[in-house]
Symmetry: C2
Subunit: 105 residues, 2 copies
Amino acid sequence: MKLTDAHLEEVARLFGMLAESSRLKLLRALLERPMTVSELIEATGMRQGNVSKHLGTLTLGGFVGREREGNFVRYTITDPTVASLCMLMCSRVETHARQRARQLA
Amino acid sequence: MKLTDAHLEEVARLFGMLAESSRLKLLRALLERPMTVSELIEATGMRQGNVSKHLGTLTLGGFVGREREGNFVRYTITDPTVASLCMLMCSRVETHARQRARQLA
DNA sequence: TATCTATATTACTATATAGTGATATGGCCA
DNA sequence: TGGCCATATCACTATATAGTAATATAGATA
């Protein structure tokens, strides 16, 4: 697959959206089940404005989708690769930790 | 797999290292073959200090490794998941672009 | 030793964005 | 209609970091 500079710019933007623990917390919660903003505030302990802002970012990136339900808005993971990406990176974390541990030993 | 908050912090840091087109350019070049800093400067058009700085970041993240060869330093991709991560995200880019195109149609 | 080359690091400026409090928007109900 | 609730957005401050020019470091060579 050819990766043009424009591709890399966009790929970087998308990685950037996953490069914030707050947004990862939201995604972790949503991987459990779809949730409203109120539920996400409860699940993450974050403030309302902050949650909305990050959800806006994740929506722009196409990672999640919104659906109104009366006064509430329910967010859902719309991108099946989110879990794969996070799991891949997470297993990296552990591999890397083991490598460092081995170097110290 | 359980993802603790500490995990997410670290995962976010690692995603952040991939969230820069300059660093992705370096990785794209290194996926071709291992290269010295001089070759990477040539391949990317970036300045020397900038290349070294980004290589330092990628090394810290365990994505690449360094090996001295006389005056030169050759960098190599040491993490087999780098390619997968970039490819996954890149195919996302195209999927997302198609979705937006369909919405406009 | 002195010196050259390749790479790393430092100090700096400019830019992006996370988090916050306050405010605005939009749907529901009396 | 008016008022309430959930969510979105605005304006702001504080922090992080990309890129740069200059300087430092380390290995090779004479």
